[in-house]
Amino acid sequence: MDVSEPGAGELTVVISEDLCIYEIAQLHDQLLPRLAGGQKIQLDLGAVAECDSAGLQWLLALRAWARSSGVTLSFEPLSDAVRELVDLCQVQSLLGLQTVIPADMGAC
């Protein structure tokens, strides 16, 4: 995980680890102290090779926290692995993402 501050109150978090049950506790512990003071946070998940339900739940928890604390949180970009899980669980709107209608369902 790589956290940078491009501007005042802005955070860019690049996650290159897997978002799975084995890594998630460590990621959470690393990120939690850095969140204080952040007003505009971008989570870069473009390099996440694997994501499971625990990882997705973490993203949703971050999003819920952000909303209740008035922080802007965006997930940009998403790797295919994360996108697949988001679509499977149909949580696009919960994560503030654009709903992408899969081709096979758009047809019906």
């Binding site: 339900s53 739940q57 949703l60 928890a61 819920a64 499977l88 669980c89 149909q90």
Partner: protein, 727 residues
């Protein structure tokens, strides 16, 4: 046209069927008295009345059909929920049943018309009134809508949702740590069909990130799955989850009708509700197990309610399955019983009795034969005869519950008549006993129950004074105990006051003033003819008849009655009866040349003792430090000749009385077919009947109950005759 013979046969069948139906209807009313909402009881009441109307119609007894039709109409209203059932209406139902009973009696007595049209008309008017006033009440319909509503909440109407399976998942917090990933379930489900909607339920996520443990699972899923699959297939996806998730799988609403069809089309076997639902594919084995676990955790709930509440199955489906179950049961109930005239049954029992004697003779003869093959075959024959005997006797066994259930009404009416509130508690209803016995025990039980309500239970005011609930309880209980049937009639009233009984007995010269008698003997005085302690004579009981007839009836059944008195807390009359009246396991003994049989279940032990130790006709022996009264059969029956060198003492026990019977020789166990003694010998004390031995000789069957009473009375006189039985 039917000839007389056929007509009589039809009429007889009708009478016995009608009695059965009336009894069933009355039982349903009793059930409704306990629970006015008991749907099964209403259905069963309706079916009984409906069938009754049908059979009366076949016989063309129009006045029975006419009235029953009005009654049936009312019951339809109640069943469909148009007419609310309350206790007043229940009372009317009872009265209608009475009326039908009268009408059937009149019909079978040969009457062509209603003997009391006025009484019938009054009831019909009341029935009509109830129907008119009840018709506007939409109570039950509302309830129905509500029920449907709960189901619809889960899968709201919409074309696609209508056709989709609905799966609801709630996970355990430890799910991730146990190595499960819900996403993989979704992928699996995706193979069974199309995931048209996945709703991620994140309500449980903590607001504060500091409270969030990323390794715990906080979410749940609501899934709609469109696909041609089965509940069991879907459940298999979650096979290893066990306790880590709560899973509910509801079939597509559009399929519900199909499932209902399937239930109706199931083969007509008697299944439990759960089995029916599993067979129709509405419930999986696993859910059934969960449902049963839930049910056992919450006593008294029905499986149907449990599975509907847990949203495992739609209420409509359970309703249909229940209907299926009861219709099958009713049909099987009819098919599973065979009506046999009781004289044919008696004949069979008699013949089996002869067979037992013959087989016993065969065995004796074979024992003396040198040919091993003959004695082997004889043993085999005896074994079969033994099992035939048991099956034949079992044919006569009926459950006592039916007799017990007749008391609901008696108790209500007796209680009402005396201004007492009484509740009947029935236990051991499935205890079986001989049909003859059941028929003959009813009257004594009626006496005892009336007595318990009249004399046993205090007035409601008095009960409140002493801190008891206003409503008294009469308990009927039955169970098997060491080869006997025990029937208990108990109440939670004031118990019996032994002093008052003793005083009364002295007044009536039954007991000498100052006599030293123990409490049990005092209590037994109430069975004395003409004895009644009631201060006032009520029209229920207290006229001094009853208790002695109870004793006489029970003696006639070779039974005993004892009183368990708990002053202030109640009283329990305990009746012990032999299992059957026809054949018993006996213990064969002899004195000189004469054989006697002692019912085996009453024998506790046998001791051999030298003749000189017991020279007296009766007295006490010391047995392991306890004084044991004994009686020498040789003296008792005045048998000539000297006692054998070594005599045997058979120790018998019945209830709490125990005594020794002194005999010359012991011969061991024997199947004893009881032959009643002729009228002339009915009053012989100490002998209950006779039997024919395999050798053709006659053996007398000892009536241990009466012997015990005599021994214990006679030996009360002196204890100076105590001698040591054991060297």
């Amino acid at each position: 046209m039917l000839d007389d013979e056929q007509w009589r046969w039809l009429a007889e069948t009708f009478i016995s069927e009608a009695q059965e139906l009336l009894q069933r209807a009355e039982m349903s009313l009793s059930d409704l008295e306990q629970d006015l909402q008991d749907v099964e009881a209403i259905n069963s009441l309706f079916r009984a009345v409906h069938t009754l109307k049908g059979s009366a119609g076949i016989l063309g007894v129009d006045f029975v059909v006419g009235f029953t039709h009005h009654y049936e109409n009312l019951l339809v209203g109640v069943r469909d929920g148009d007419i609310p059932l309350d206790s007043a209406l229940l009372h009317l139902c009872y009265r209608c049943l009475d009326r039908i009973n009268h009408l059937i009696e009149a019909a079978t007595g040969g009457l062509q018309d209603d003997p009391d049209p006025e009484a019938t008309a009054i009831l019909v008017r009341q029935l009509n009134e109830v129907q008119r006033s009840g018709a506007d009440l939409p109570v039950a319909q509302d309830g129905q809508h509500q029920e449907r509503g709960t189901f619809e909440r889960v899968s709201p109407a919409s074309d696609q949702r209508d056709q989709a399976w609905h799966i609801s998942l709630r996970f355990d917090r430890e799910l991730f740590r146990s190595g499960f990933d819900p996403a993989s379930f979704l992928r699996y489900l995706g193979r069974l069909g199309q995931l048209t909607e996945v709703i991620y339920i994140a309500d449980e996520l903590p607001d504060d990130l500091a409270d969030f443990d990323p390794e715990q699972c906080y979410f749940g899923l609501e899934i709609n799955l469109l696909g041609d699959t089965t509940k069991a297939d879907i459940e298999q996806v979650f096979e290893f989850l066990d306790d880590l998730a709560t899973i509910r799988i509801l079939p597509p609403e559009s399929q519900l009708e199909d499932y209902i069809q399937l239930i109706r089309a199931l083969p007509e076997d008697d299944h439990r509700l759960g089995e029916i639902l599993v067979k129709a594919g509405l419930l999986t084995e696993k859910e059934l197990q969960q449902g049963l676990n839930l049910q056992s955790a919450e006593q008294g709930r029905k499986l149907g309610e449990v599975v509907v509440d847990a949203q495992m199955v739609a209420p409509e489906a359970v309703q249909v399955a229940l209907e299926k179950q009861s219709s099958v049961r009713e049909r099987l109930g009819r098919a599973a019983y065979l009506k046999i005239a009781s004289d044919k049954m008696d004949e069979l029992i008699n013949q089996v009795g002869e067979l037992v004697i013959a087989a016993e003779g065969m065995r004796l003869a074979a024992q003396q034969s040198v040919q091993a093959r003959i004695s082997e075959r004889a043993e085999e024959l005896c074994r079969h005869v033994e099992s035939i005997r048991e099956s034949a006797l079992r044919l006569r066994m009926v459950e006592i519950g039916e007799t017990f259930n007749r008391f609901h009404r008696l108790i209500r009416e007796t209680g009402d008549g005396l201004g007492k509130q009484v509740k009947l508690d029935i236990q051991g209803a499935d205890t079986e006993l001989d049909k003859t016995m059941v028929d003959r025990i009813y009257e004594p039980l009626v006496h005892l129950v009336r007595n318990a309500i009249d004399h046993g239970l205090e007035s409601p005011e008095r009960r409140l004074e002493v801190g008891k609930p206003e409503q008294g309880t009469v308990t009927l209980n039955a169970f098997h105990e060491s080869g006997q049937i025990v029937i208990e009639v108990s109440d939670d009233g004031g118990g019996i006051d032994p002093d008052r009984i003793l005083q009364k007995a002295i007044e009536r010269d039954l007991v000498a003033p100052g006599a030293d008698i123990d409490e049990q003997s005092v209590l037994q005085l109430i069975f004395h003819p003409g004895f009644s302690t009631a201060q006032t004579v009520t029209n229920i009981s207290g006229r001094g008849v009853g208790m002695d007839s109870v004793r006489k009836d029970i003696d006639g059944l070779r039974g005993t009655i004892e009183i368990d008195n708990r002053p202030g807390r109640g009283c329990c009359f305990r009746i012990r009866l032999p299992l059957t009246l026809a054949i018993i396991e006996g213990f064969l003994v002899s004195v000189g040349e004469q054989y006697y049989v002692i019912p085996l279940e009453l024998v506790t032990e046998c001791i051999e003792l030298p003749a000189h130790l017991a020279q007296k006709a009766e007295g006490y022996l010391e047995l392991r430090g306890q004084a044991l009264p004994y009686l020498a059969l040789r003296h008792y029956f005045s048998i000539k000749g000297g006692a054998a060198e070594r005599q045997s003492l058979v120790v018998v026990r019945q209830g709490n009385l125990s005594a020794g019977v002194l005999v010359d020789r012991l011969h061991g166990e024997i199947q004893t077919v009881i032959k009643p003694l002729g009228q002339l010998f009915q009053h012989l004390k100490g002998v209950g009947g006779a039997t024919i031995l395999g050798s053709g000789e006659v053996a007398l069957i000892l009536d241990i109950g009466s012997l015990l009473r005599q021994v214990c009375d006679q030996t009360d006189a002196g204890s100076d005759r105590l001698i040591a039985a054991m060297p």
